[in-house]
C-alpha cells in the first residue's frame, strides 16, 4: 500500500483524487509542494481568501457568545467593505434558524475501509426535535446549482460521517440519515441557505462509494496515479508547470464560476495547522 496505515481521508484529499489522481499522488504520497499562483490576480485572490477567513472567524465568535457590539466594532474597522455586507446578511438570515444545541467548528471521524475519515464542520446544530443540521458558510460571490452541491465530495462525506458518528453529539447511540440536513449559506446573497436532505438510500450509496474510492486509492500502485484528462482542472492546479499543463494561473472570475474554494486560507482557521512556537 502506497499510503501509510494512519493516513486520514478528508473531503479535500478525496476531492483532489477525484479531480486528478496524480495531484493526489504529488500532494499526499510524495508530499511535494510546488510554488505557483493559483490565479494570476494573486493579490485579489489572497484578499478574498483572507476576508473569507475573517468572516468565518466572526461567525464562530458570534456563535460562542462574543458580544455583538464588539464584533460590530471589528466589522466596522475591517479593510474589506464586503465583510460588513456579509455580516449584515448573516445577522438577518441565520440567527432565527439556530434553535438547538450548537457544535461550532467541530470535527467528527469514522472508520472507512480501515482508514480514518474526518469531517470538519463550521456548525452542527442539534435541534430539539432530534434533527441535525450541518451549516457551511461560503463567501464566494456565485451561488452554485443544487445538483452540483449535492454531488460534491464535501456534501456527501459530511452527511455520511455525521450519520455514522453524530451520536457523540446527541448522546444517542445512532443517528438515522433522515435526521440529517446540510445547509450551504452564501454570505454575499441575502437569500436563505440551500438545503440538502439525506436519507438511508443515499447513506448506503455514499458508504459504498467512499469505501470503493478509498480501496481504489490504497490498492493503486504508485505508477497508476494518472494525470486527469480534463485539462480545465489544471488551470487552478499549482502543479501545472510540473505537468506541462500551462504556466500561467487561472482567471479569478473563472475560479468563482467553478466554485472551488481558494486553497490555503482555510488554514487560517485551522488551529491544528498553527505551528506552535516551541518554547
Amino acid at each position: 500500500m502506497i499510503l501509510s496505515a494512519d493516513f486520514t481521508f478528508s473531503q479535500s484529499n478525496l476531492q483532489d483524487y477525484r479531480d486528478c489522481p496524480y495531484r493526489f499522488y504529488l500532494r499526499y504520497v510524495l508530499h511535494t509542494r510546488w510554488p505557483a499562483l493559483v490565479v494570476e490576480d494573486a493579490l485579489k485572490f489572497e484578499q478574498r481568501g483572507q476576508s473569507g477567513a475573517r468572516f468565518h472567524r466572526l461567525v464562530q465568535q458570534w456563535l460562542l457568545g462574543v458580544p455583538e457590539d464588539r464584533l460590530h466594532a471589528l466589522v466596522t474597522g475591517d479593510p474589506d467593505p464586503d465583510l460588513g455586507q456579509w455580516w449584515e446578511n448573516f445577522l438577518e438570515a441565520i440567527p432565527p434558524l439556530l434553535d438547538g444545541e450548537r457544535f461550532v467548528e467541530t470535527t467528527l471521524a469514522t472508520n472507512l475501509a480501515g482508514h480514518r475519515a474526518l469531517a470538519k464542520y463550521d456548525l452542527v446544530l442539534v435541534q430539539p426535535d432530534g434533527r441535525l443540521i450541518i451549516y457551511d458558510w461560503k463567501t464566494s460571490q456565485k451561488k452554485p446549482r443544487q445538483d452540483w452541491l449535492e454531488d460534491r465530495v464535501q456534501t456527501r462525506l459530511y452527511q455520511f460521517i455525521l450519520a455514522c458518528s453524530g451520536g457523540v453529539l446527541t448522546n444517542r447511540a445512532m443517528v438515522t440519515p433522515d435526521q440529517i440536513e446540510m445547509r450551504y449559506w452564501f454570505a454575499p446573497n441575502r437569500t436563505a441557505p440551500i438545503t440538502l436532505t439525506y436519507n438511508t438510500d443515499r447513506f448506503e450509496q455514499d458508504r459504498d462509494y467512499f469505501t470503493d474510492l478509498i480501496n481504489e486509492i490504497t490498492d493503486k500502485p504508485a505508477d497508476s496515479f494518472f494525470r486527469t484528462a480534463d485539462e480545465a482542472l489544471c488551470r487552478f492546479c499549482v502543479y501545472r508547470a510540473h505537468c506541462d499543463r500551462g504556466t500561467l494561473g487561472g482567471d479569478l472570475e473563472d475560479l468563482e464560476d467553478s466554485d472551488r474554494q481558494p486553497e490555503g486560507f482555510e488554514d487560517l482557521l485551522d488551529f491544528d495547522q498553527i505551528s506552535e512556537i516551541e518554547f
Binding site: 509542494r33 510554488p35 488551529f271 506552535e276 518554547f279
Partner: protein, 715 residues
C-alpha cells in the same frame, strides 16, 4: 463496563493497577523514565473512549507537540475507536487559540493601539525580525551592548528569551533587568548590558502594542491575565474539555502548572503524568517543582517503579553514576559501588583512548557496524554529543557512509537560507530590482545562473556575468546575450545563451507590484521559467519544495508587516532579503518527507534525543571530555536560574551556585540518557576534541571513577 485493553503487549502490574482506577478519578502518576507511564497514559485514553466518553471532550496537554505523538498514534492505529478527535495542546497553542478566538473580548484591555483591528501573531521568525528592527539602531547608533562581542542574532534571541521567560514564569517584564542585575556579582560593565536589555524589552513591547503585534510573550500574558479569568473563555474551555491527560508535566512551565492547578477541579477526570529525574527543558523555562505540586490537586497518587527499559547491567551502571555524581555534589549519604562485570558489560570503550578526534569517529563507526553485523537494528542505535556541530556531523556522516550504515540526523545539513535554490531565487530577485540597492556580487549571480540554467557550468556562468552583468547600477543590470563578445559566446554556447535571454527578458518585464510582492514574483519566476525545460529546476521536486517553503516564509513576513499602524517606510521585499542575508530569518530547516527514518542510526544532540522520549538498545556518547555536557550556554543577556520561579530576589549567583548547577545538569542529563538505554552505552572519548582542545571534563572523570571503584570492589 469491562475495559478491553486491546493490546498485544502484556501490562505490568502497575499499569493494570492504573487502569483499574475509576475513569472519574483524578490521578497523579509519577515514576522515572522507562517505567511505562506514557504507555499507561495511552491505555488510559483508550479506556476513556471505550467507556463512552466522546474523544472531543478529552484534552491532551503536553509541553511540546511532539510529546503527544504516542497518543495520536494510538488513536490512528485504531481508526474505529473514536468518532471525534481528541485535542492536543501546549500552553503556547492554548494561549494563541484563545487570544485569536476571543480577541474582541480581550483587545480593549490588552493595551494595543487598535483594539478594533485584528492582531498580527508573530512567529519566532517575525518576532526576531521586529526585535532586530528595534535593537539594531540602538547597537549601531547608541552603543548598546558595546562591551559584548557576540553575534547580533544571539542578542535578539536572548532578549526574546527574557520576554518569554517573564511570561511563562509570571513576573512583569520590567523586572527582567533588575532581577538580572541584582543577582550579578562580576564585572560592573555587565550591569550596563542588563540595563540595555531592559530598555530593548521595553521598546519591543511598546512597538508591539502600538502596531497590534503579538509575540509569544504577549499572547501568553493576555491569555493568563485577561482570558483565563474571563467567564466567556473559561466556560468555553470547561464546557469543551471534560477529561484531561497531561503528560510530561515536569517539562512544562510554571504558568502551565498554575493554569492546570486551577483547571483540574473542573475536569470530570484527569491523569497527570510526571517523570522523575527529568526537567530537561529547564533552559526553556520548565519547572519541576511546580509540576510536582500538581500532585496535591489530584485525588489518587500512583507510582511506577519497575524499570522496563534497562538491563540489570545498565541499571548497575546507572546506580554507580548516580552515586558518584551525588558524591561530587557533597552528598555522601548514599554510596553504591556497582559490580565491575556489570559495569563493563554495560559500557563500551576503546582499548586505548584515541588522541585525536577523527580516530574516535572511526572507532565509533566501526562499533556501529559490528553491532549491526551481529544483528542489532540500526534504529536501535543513537550517536549523541552535547552539541552536534556541523563538523562533527559531517565527519560522522562520512564515516557511516563509508561503512554503508543507514543514518539520519536531527536536522538537515543546512538551513533554508543556505539552500542553493533559496540563494538562486533571492539573487535573481535582487538583480531584477536594482532600486533595492542590494546589488548581487558578480560571483553570486554567476552561481545563481549556473543553478537556474541547464547546461551552464560555473566557468561559463562567470564568463556570462563578466560581460552581461553590470554591478552597482540603478538600471536593469542584465544585458542581452548579444552584448557578450562573439568568441566568448561560442564558449558559453548558444543554447545556454538563448536560455539566458529568455530568463533575462522575463525578468526585465517586472512590474512595480512584483517589487512589492516578492512571494508572488518568485512563484511566477519558478513556474513560468525556472521549472520549464532547459532550466535548472525542471522536474526537480526537491527544489520546488524548498522554493515553496521560502515563498511561504516571505508571505508570512509580508502579512506580519501588514499592521494597522502601517510600515510604509519599508520595502518589504528588500527588508526580507536583507534579513535573510543577516541571518535573522529563513533559519529553519526543511525536512524531506521522502526520507525514511524508520530503521537508521540517529545522530543528535543529547537533549534532542532526551526530549523525543524514546528508548533504544545502544547509545554512543561522543566528546565525553567536553564541559558542554554540564556547563551552561554562554548567554550574556539572560540567565535561566535567575529568571526561574525558584529565584529569591535577594540572592546573588556565585561560583558555588554555578558548580552546583553543573552537577545538577550532569546528573539529570546522564541519568536521563541511561534511563533510555536498554543494553549498552559506548563512550567515545578522545584526548583532543573536535576543535583540537584537550578536554578532561567532569563526565569523563565520573566514568573513570565508577570504573575504578567497581574494579576495586571486585578485587
Amino acid at each position: 463496563m469491562v475495559f478491553e485493553y486491546n493490546c498485544i503487549m502484556a501490562l505490568t502490574p502497575e499499569q493494570t493497577h492504573l487502569l483499574d482506577i475509576s475513569h472519574h478519578a483524578k490521578v497523579f502518576l509519577q515514576g522515572s523514565a522507562g517505567t511505562g507511564k506514557t504507555t499507561g497514559g495511552t491505555l488510559w485514553l483508550k479506556k476513556l473512549i471505550q467507556s463512552g466518553i466522546p474523544a472531543h471532550e478529552i484534552l491532551i496537554f503536553v509541553p511540546q507537540r511532539t510529546l503527544a505523538a504516542p497518543y495520536d498514534r494510538c488513536l490512528q492505529d485504531e481508526p474505529g475507536l473514536a468518532q471525534s478527535l481528541v485535542t492536543t495542546m501546549t500552553l503556547g497553542g492554548l494561549a494563541r487559540r484563545m487570544v485569536e478566538l476571543f480577541w474582541p473580548v480581550v483587545s480593549p484591555a490588552s493595551g494595543v493601539a487598535f483594539p478594533d483591528q485584528p492582531p498580527q501573531f508573530l512567529t519566532l521568525e517575525t518576532a526576531q525580525y521586529y526585535m532586530a528592527h528595534i535593537v539594531l539602531p540602538l547597537i549601531e547608533k547608541e552603543g548598546f551592548f558595546a562591551s559584548l562581542t557576540i553575534n547580533r542574532n544571539r542578542i535578539y534571541s536572548q532578549i526574546l528569551d527574557n520576554l518569554n521567560k517573564a511570561a511563562i514564569v509570571g513576573f512583569p517584564i520590567d523586572e527582567i533587568g533588575p532581577r538580572l542585575k541584582s543577582a550579578w556579582v562580576g564585572e560592573l560593565d555587565q550591569l550596563n548590558v542588563y540595563d540595555d536589555v531592559q530598555e530593548c524589552v521595553n521598546r519591543f513591547r511598546s512597538y508591539c502594542l502600538s502596531h497590534n503585534l503579538l509575540d509569544f510573550s504577549l499572547q501568553v500574558e493576555l491569555f493568563q491575565k485577561h482570558l483565563w479569568s474571563s467567564p466567556l473563555c473559561r466556560n468555553y474551555l470547561t464546557r469543551s474539555y471534560r477529561h484531561l491527560i497531561a503528560d510530561n508535566v515536569e517539562e512544562d512551565t510554571p504558568i502551565s502548572h498554575t493554569i492546570l492547578q486551577e483547571w483540574l477541579p473542573d475536569f470530570d477526570s484527569a491523569l497527570v503524568i510526571f517523570d522523575e529525574d527529568a526537567g530537561y527543558r529547564f533552559f526553556l523555562g520548565a519547572d519541576v517543582e511546580s509540576g510536582l505540586a500538581l500532585r496535591k490537586t489530584c485525588d489518587e497518587q500512583v507510582k511506577f517503579s519497575t524499570q522496563l527499559v534497562n538491563s540489570p547491567e545498565v541499571q548497575a551502571l546507572r546506580t554507580g553514576l548516580q552515586s558518584t555524581i551525588a558524591h561530587l555534589s557533597g552528598n555522601t549519604s548514599t554510596s553504591t559501588i556497582p559490580d565491575f562485570k556489570a559495569v563493563t558489560t554495560a559500557l563500551g570503550t576503546p582499548a586505548e583512548n584515541p588522541r585525536f578526534f577523527p580516530v574516535m569517529i572511526h572507532w565509533v563507526a566501526d562499533q556501529v557496524r559490528q553491532l549491526i553485523d551481529s544483528g542489532a537494528s540500526p534504529g536501535e542505535i543513537v550517536i549523541l554529543a552535547p552539541f552536534m556541530s556541523d563538523v562533527l556531523r559531517f565527519s560522522l556522516a562520512n564515516q557511516l557512509d563509508t561503512l554503508e550504515i543507514p543514518y539520519h540526523s536531527h536536522r538537515p545539513s543546512r538551513p533554508l537560507r543556505d539552500e542553493p535554490t533559496t540563494q538562486t531565487l533571492l539573487t535573481l530577485a535582487s538583480a531584477t530590482f536594482p532600486e533595492w540597492r542590494l546589488f548581487p556580487k558578480r560571483i553570486n549571480l554567476a552561481f545563481a545562473l549556473m543553478q537556474a540554467i541547464d547546461g551552464l557550468d560555473l566557468v561559463r556562468a562567470q564568463l556570462l556575468t563578466a560581460y552581461a552583468y553590470e554591478e552597482q547600477t540603478r538600471e536593469f543590470p542584465l544585458k542581452p546575450f548579444e552584448a557578450v563578445p562573439s568568441e566568448v559566446r561560442d564558449r558559453i554556447t548558444y543554447q545556454a545563451g538563448e536560455r539566458y535571454d529568455r530568463l533575462r527578458d522575463w525578468l526585465a518585464e517586472k512590474t512595480p507590484e512584483d517589487s512589492q510582492n516578492l512571494d508572488f514574483f518568485l512563484n511566477r519566476l519558478f513556474g513560468e521559467v525556472l521549472s520549464q525545460p532547459g532550466y535548472g529546476f525542471n522536474n526537480d521536486l526537491n527544489s520546488a519544495n524548498i522554493a515553496a517553503v521560502l515563498i511561504e516564509s516571505i508571505q508570512k513576513f509580508r502579512w506580519a508587516m501588514d499592521t494597522p499602524a502601517g510600515n510604509n517606510d519599508l520595502s518589504i521585499s528588500k527588508e526580507y532579503i536583507q534579513m535573510v542575508m543577516e541571518g535573522v530569518i529563513a533559519a529553519q530547516y526543511i525536512q524531506s518527507w521522502q526520507q525514511d527514518h524508520q530503521d537508521s542510526v540517529f545522530l543528535a544532540p543529547a537533549y534532542t534525543f532526551l526530549i523525543r522520549n524514546q528508548a533504544v538498545d545502544y547509545q554512543f556518547w561522543l566528546d565525553i571530555g567536553s564541559p558542554s555536557w554540564y556547563q551552561r550556554l554562554d548567554q550574556p543577556l539572560t540567565q535561566p536560574y535567575v529568571l526561574s520561579p525558584q529565584w529569591q530576589p535577594s540572592q546573588t549567583w556565585n561560583a558555588e551556585d554555578e558548580l552546583a548547577a553543573a552537577h545538577e545538569t550532569l546528573s539529570r542529563l546522564s541519568l536521563g540518557l541511561l534511563n533510555r538505554c536498554r543494553k549498552k552505552v559506548f563512550l567515545g572519548p578522545s584526548d583532543m576534541d573536535v576543535s583540537g582542545y584537550e578536554n578532561r571534563g567532569l563526565l569523563l572523570r565520573v566514568f573513570q571513577h565508577v570504573l575504578l571503584e567497581a574494579r576495586r570492589r571486585s578485587r
